[in-house]
Subunit: 326 residues, 2 copies
Amino acid sequence: MSRITSEDGFLTLIDRHFPRRHAAVPLHRGDDAAVIETPGRVCLTADLFLEDVHFRRAYFTPKDIGCKSLAVNISDLAAMGAVPLGFALVLTSPEDADATFWDGVFSGMAGLADALELPLVGGDLNRGPSVALAVTAWGGPGPSGRFLTRGQGRPGDALFLVGDVGLAAVGLFVLEAHGRDAIPDWPAAAAAHLRPAVRVQAGLALAGIPGVRGLMDVSDGLGADLPRFLAPGTGADIRLDLKALHPEVARHAAALGEDPVRAAFLGGEDYALLGAADPAALPDIMAAAPGAWPIGTVAAAPGVSLNGRSVTGRGFDHFESTPCSS
Amino acid sequence: MSRITSEDGFLTLIDRHFPRRHAAVPLHRGDDAAVIETPGRVCLTADLFLEDVHFRRAYFTPKDIGCKSLAVNISDLAAMGAVPLGFALVLTSPEDADATFWDGVFSGMAGLADALELPLVGGDLNRGPSVALAVTAWGGPGPSGRFLTRGQGRPGDALFLVGDVGLAAVGLFVLEAHGRDAIPDWPAAAAAHLRPAVRVQAGLALAGIPGVRGLMDVSDGLGADLPRFLAPGTGADIRLDLKALHPEVARHAAALGEDPVRAAFLGGEDYALLGAADPAALPDIMAAAPGAWPIGTVAAAPGVSLNGRSVTGRGFDHFESTPCSS
């Protein structure tokens, strides 16, 4: 396909991938604003997915870009225990991103949207210096009627994860070093970086378990996100066993002579769910959320320990460094 | 002030300008998603405000940038006849945009948000190649219970505007040519480009007049937006009288040897409201919406005429040219 020379050409491409009919969208794309039917309480999140900051065209396929740009937002809704309801998309396209590229992006995005029956209700298209996708997504409460938030864990609560940590950071490292040639050797790590799992069903199931007190998604690494998750005045005693880490995390750390547990603790962008719960609820949690595993306990005093040693290191701050440029 | 070196520094600056308490926001910024209370039906819009595409730092003050980035979204809600309820903000900051700059941006944005009692519920901060602000805003229906949409005019309906057309295009032209030195000579035109009016009260009042059939905001110019506003199969006979145009539009056209009526018809970014109504409602409209003026009639056949002559020219297409770079 060729260069997109008009806004109408872009809109036609979007119409091909995203249906204009949805029961909860009385007025779809094309007016000054969309009209959507909403429950009385919704949760809403907005995240940017920006070329050379969050992804590189060198090793993300257009489908990967489309899928992940939506997935990182859906992960925030999953971490609220919410049912995703819809999204809006603002994008910029540089001159060298042609219709074939955008067809792939929209295809990847529509794959995830279709699986969740999510309408794209509108947004804004612009020329810009690089490929950028800013998604705003919203969701409603599930059958439990509640959203899961941060700052809810109590001393003695169990801390648990749903999903791996440290795996996407390995993916980033090997993709930066070798591009897509790294994929055969590091299939799980590359997939964790290129196409992170969204855990909507797990989030919903966890919201339905009364003993689950709070939930967030680990986007900047467990080390950086734990302090944001804990209630003021509390801390955490984290126990990460090498055997519980993904084999690719262990193999990569061995190759670099690094501590695999520390790498797993600091690595960002896995979008695992981090929860706090009454320890008595752990069996229910592990049955309801495949991939759930206990990682420690909420402590009665501030500070975080990892396998018995106090840690001060943090993960990823967007204004200190970026995962692609570091 | 100095360079912003951490995400926390940025968040502190945002907290200083945007209060964290709002009756309709049970869970404010800082979690995976915000939780907002919503009416059963909301309208939602998202627009990007991008450096060197929509504005230049050479002649927009930081306050102008903050104000206009929100205003263009609020204008979409006004054009729905909606009550604005809240917004989310995604931004990118290049290295050379420091805390003083962002303090000004947030101050300008908060000025408009405070006037409308709008909460900033969350968003995303990133380093990026240029200053970009992507706002998602939403609103609910006013006392009339309805939203005003496009495609509703019937043959014989009156077409009307609330606000000037062509004025912001003059502002863009003179600001591009002379920077802020142009302001004393072209105060209204420069203001129309730098700080467009938002017509929330007018939109709400119009939604309350049963004879008003539909409304949109004219962002790309009357020539480009009329075809988007008219119902399929209908057209428009537009009558623009030189005397009804802003004196700065007439003066600028005279200086360039251009037709002022054509300039007013094609000029974009005024964010005037364009409406269609039963002609019998015109007195009510002009009483309820200060600045409203009739501009013609919906025709029974496709095509647009301007002062009796058929027009084919269009306004502004983001993928054909941009207002700042053309």
